[in-house]
Assembly symmetry: C2
Homo-oligomer: 429 residues x 2
């Protein structure tokens, strides 16, 4: 072949597209019933927009978009949140609050393609802006769980790992990290999985912790705590540090999703802009990358030139989710649009009627197909109708033109009867 | 504001997004009932792929996509057909024939934004491959008409202007254009609208036509001919030239769309790759750019490294279509997802129950909302329920926890009754 799809992108043939639409329909259904409205934005943005949120680091991952004449440089969107923040900032006063938006954009990142990570992927985004309370954080996490459950996943398959930046900050301050090194401490925490143990400990020592304290903090992070059981956490960390988590704890229980969630102080999310609750959804064995991740980001709208506005949200990509669903045997069988009628002529003289009849059925809203073969062999044509999973075969005969009737065969029951053309659409419905 | 959407792109706030989804739903519904299956492809492709189909000319309109390290250059897709041709070529033997695919991609072109033309837009694509007959051309045109009718347009609003490359070629050859200048002649014909009359005539003379013949050809092109009335065309052009159009004529009538179509030899479509039938949909006054355009392109799959395979298809953008629908008063009122239940507490003590109840209703598939206000004033809360167009208000009372019952108010009829929590989802459905 002369050409292939670019590395890390996908061709969606009908079967793959049906799966994509199945997933998007679930994202949409869950979004709507949770009270979110859909938005979308441009496929590329001023590249500076991405720098404002994520710093220069992100730019190395962004595909640059330029016109041939070298006009201003854009970035192919690597995430949707900067667009959302720009849109909210532009109409902040006119939009009714709270703002509850969802979106299902395709995103592009120039990273090395690998398991769970592609160069073009889909991401479901849920964002709730204008309110700041643990109840709102819990509602957003509930929406995420509602989707996981909708696709057949259970708390035995996946867990929402929850943490709170303020709780972690309080603990780190208590252990001795100075305020001006806190960002470095969060970055270190986020990089832990990619570091050698020795280098990791050494980095903490440079941030002001002795090796005993590093060990103590490490134990806290390695342990998970169940929702509704914050007493355990309190004993190991100290009461005032976990006030934020305690408030969230009550709300997660109120939304009935305690068994889906657990606290994991090792979850900090790399992005500098999170300000409070943070969470990630992981397959329970930890075998895959995060299925979803998000949290509270109360400073971003202001950063984009809008008013101060609290915000919480998450993104869920399609790639890891599909791997996990496949692994659990939860991918649906390919769903195709049911064919209402397969129309053919049983005699040569009836053939000129077929396309007009098919046209009428389609205009009446029915999914009507016809044979593209030249045969009038009824047996062969009924076989073709069955191959196409049609509900009915509509057989046009030599006298159909004169008497205005065709034969209709129910391909499930085998029943066949003559139906007048006027009654045909109703009969097929 | 610090940032704006890039020139020629659009922000879709919920109202705009609802319109986009309305249009996409119509495209999808009509595609499926006409027997087409959905496909998709990457947002960018090897830029050479676009050159193969459309020559170097297109490259000036394509946004270039590069990684920061300057790795191979991609193009942000300006059209979908090259991707489709690549996908078909890659699996040509495995795919059942005919191949009937549709797609609704966003496309990007670096042109100057103006009325009817943006830098990012949506385009419905319909393609039927593997068959070559006037009946198939007519089915594709029918599918286009089926969509126009679905959105409320009539033959009084829009017309499908049909031509045939072979017919035009035969006429031009008869008039004296040499075979090796035929491409130039088609390009000239396509540029006519943008040229001064004198320069246009002069260019024809250079292609071998005297001014009398230019005038005669011009008259043919300026005149439209009705479907089912090819005799007129025959008299003015000569029988053998219109054999292709005659065959198509029969099929357009068979599909019942004669009144939507007319022949217009001035329609050639600029793209070099069309080989037979070509057509464009225009608003009847000619005030706007083409709503849709397409035709037969029998050489493309081979050009992409696949086997020889006949193909016919069209693209319909969202921008001109929306302008025309708006002009005719056919834009629907904004459609929002109906809210099944608006849940609130009538007493402070009932408030902790609300989020759990909302969570249960949502998981049962109902669109449930709640108040984010702290009031328990029933009058105010019923007003908020009405503002959100909820079907029912669900009122949690102080004794709901104990007796397992809530009050349900039908906001249309005003009827109110107590319902047990177990029966609530069923009652709201």
């Amino acid at each position: 072949m002369k050409f292939q799809a670019p590395k890390g992108t996908r061709d969606y043939y009908p079967a793959e597209m049906a799966w994509r639409r199945y997933l998007e329909a679930a994202w949409r259904r869950v979004s709507l019933r949770n009270g979110f409205e859909e938005v979308e934005g441009p496929i590329f943005e001023d590249i500076e927009l991405y720098k404002v949120k994520s710093g220069d680091e992100i730019v190395s991952q962004v595909f640059h978009v330029t016109r041939q004449d070298g006009e201003s440089t854009f970035g192919l969107r690597p995430e949707f949140t900067p667009t959302l923040a720009r849109m909210v900032a532009a109409k902040a006063n006119a939009l009714p609050k709270p703002i509850k938006w969802f979106c299902m954009p395709n995103l592009c990142r120039g990273e090395r393609p690998q398991r769970g990570r592609l160069r073009e992927f889909l991401q479901w985004n849920i964002d709730l802006l204008g309110l700041d309370s643990p109840a709102v954080d819990a509602e957003v996490i509930f929406t995420c769980v509602d989707l996981l459950r909708e696709l057949g996943l259970t708390p035995e398959h996946v867990k929402v790992k929850v943490s709170h930046r303020e709780t972690v900050r309080t603990i780190l301050a208590k252990l001795g990290v100075p305020g001006d090194r806190m960002i470095d401490a969060f970055n270190l925490l986020d990089r832990q999985a990619k570091m050698e143990a020795e280098a990791y400990t050494k980095a903490w020592v440079e941030l002001g912790l002795d090796s005993h304290k590093v060990e103590r903090f490490d134990q806290m992070c390695r342990r998970t705590y169940r929702v509704g059981d914050v007493a355990h956490l309190e004993r190991s960390i100290g009461g005032e540090a976990i006030a934020d988590l305690e408030a969230l704890d009550k709300q997660l229980s109120a939304f009935g999703i305690a068994e889906w969630c657990e606290y994991d102080l090792g979850i900090v999310r790399g992005l500098a802009y999170y300000t409070g609750t943070v969470f990630e959804v992981h397959e329970i064995s930890g075998a895959e990358r995060a299925i979803a991740g998000g949290g509270r980001y109360d400073k971003l709208i202001e950063l984009m030139g809008g008013p101060a506005m609290p915000a919480v949200g998450f993104g869920m990509g399609d790639v890891v989710l599909s791997l996990v669903l496949g692994d659990k045997g939860l991918l649906p069988e390919s769903v195709t649009d049911p064919v209402d009628a397969f129309v053919f002529a049983a005699e040569e003289s009836a053939r000129p009627m077929v396309s007009g009849l098919v046209a009428e059925l389609r205009s009446a809203g029915l999914h009507a197909r016809m044979t593209y073969k030249t045969t009038t062999n009824v047996g062969k044509l009924l076989k073709e109708a069955a191959q196409q999973d049609a509900r009915f075969a509509v057989i046009v005969e030599g006298d159909s033109q004169d008497n205005g009737k065709v034969s209709v065969k129910d391909l499930a029951s085998g029943d066949q009867s003559r139906v007048s053309l006027d009654d045909l659409p109703e009969r097929l419905r």
